[in-house]
């Protein structure tokens, strides 16, 4: 193992900002900012649909505002092929729906709540993701 491209400051600071979003959503609306749940609910449930949709719109506007005000070009690179991207999208959709959460819902909110389910879920998806990268990387 070689450690490369490690950016602890911007990672930690960005994490704090994400944490702020989580607590504003929680103290204001009483809900957990799990993105897979919010997106899925927007698609299939009438409950809080406008709220959910506005969260998603905000999520897309965030990087635009950030790039506009800081004049920073956000580094972004996808090297996967289209068939891989489509398969991966399907697996992420199916998996987060069946497992009821993703990196934000289980990994941040659930762990913050010390939920045993979320701790287990996070360990499992980290392990399968690391194995996947090892196999196809």
């Amino acid at each position: 193992m070689n450690i490369v491209n490690f950016t602890p400051q911007s990672a930690f600071f960005g994490g704090i900002i994400i944490g702020l979003a989580v607590i504003i959503f929680f103290i204001g609306n009483g809900r957990l900012a799990g993105v897979s749940g919010i997106v899925n609910d927007t698609l299939v449930s009438k409950q809080n649909r406008t709220d959910n949709f506005l969260f998603i719109v905000g999520l897309v506007l965030g990087p635009i505002f950030y790039a506009f005000f800081t004049k920073i070009n956000i580094p972004f690179l996808i090297t996967s092929s289209l068939p891989i991207i489509i398969s991966a999208g399907f697996l992420v959709g199916i998996g987060t729906k069946i497992g009821r959460g993703c990196t934000s819902g289980h990994g941040i909110c659930g762990i913050s709540l010390l939920s045993p389910r979320s701790i287990i879920a996070t360990i499992i998806f980290m392990i399968t993701a690391i194995i996947t990268v090892k196999l196809i990387g």
């Binding site: 959503f25 489509i86 941040i108």
Partner: protein, 142 residues
């Protein structure tokens, strides 16, 4: 009205956090998942930053009567480590490792107008709908 403003603002701040930490970038995330190769531990610091902020607030507020702009706190009550949690999370991890996209960054990256992000998000929505459909056929929903 206020709950809508809160949702919108939370979404924006979340998207800014993903940009600052560069978790919006699949290449950065794949660097974290490449534990046995060229490893970039940054994602752990993102999670630590977020959890350090949210954990104390959850602890202080979860037993209060109600949030500011809703009738009650909605926190999942499921406790059991069941088959769905394990299979679902395992499946999600495989998809995450294939490209380096999880739902938050994938949605947020639509801002960058990359065609691949659009295909990923559409497939993910397809995955949600397919699961709902299968769920309805196999297990009659509650």
């Amino acid at each position: 009205m206020m709950s809508k403003i809160i949702s919108f603002i939370s979404g924006i701040i979340f998207g800014v956090g993903l940009s600052v930490s560069n978790m919006i970038n699949p290449e950065k995330v794949l660097g974290f998942l490449d534990l046995f190769g060229q490893w970039d531990p940054s994602l752990i610091f993102v999670m630590m930053g977020a959890i350090i902020v949210s954990a104390p607030v959850f602890f202080l507020f979860r037993n209060k009567n109600k949030p500011l702009f809703a009738d009650n706190f909605s926190i999942p009550t499921l406790k059991s480590i069941d088959k769905n949690l394990i299979i679902g999370s395992g499946t999600f991890g495989i998809g995450w490792g294939m490209v380096g996209f999880c739902p938050g960054p994938a949605i947020s990256s639509l801002a960058l107008l990359n065609t691949y992000s659009v295909f990923f998000v559409l497939s993910m929505l397809g995955g949600f709908l397919l699961t709902k459909l299968v769920d309805r056929i196999i297990i009659p929903t509650q």
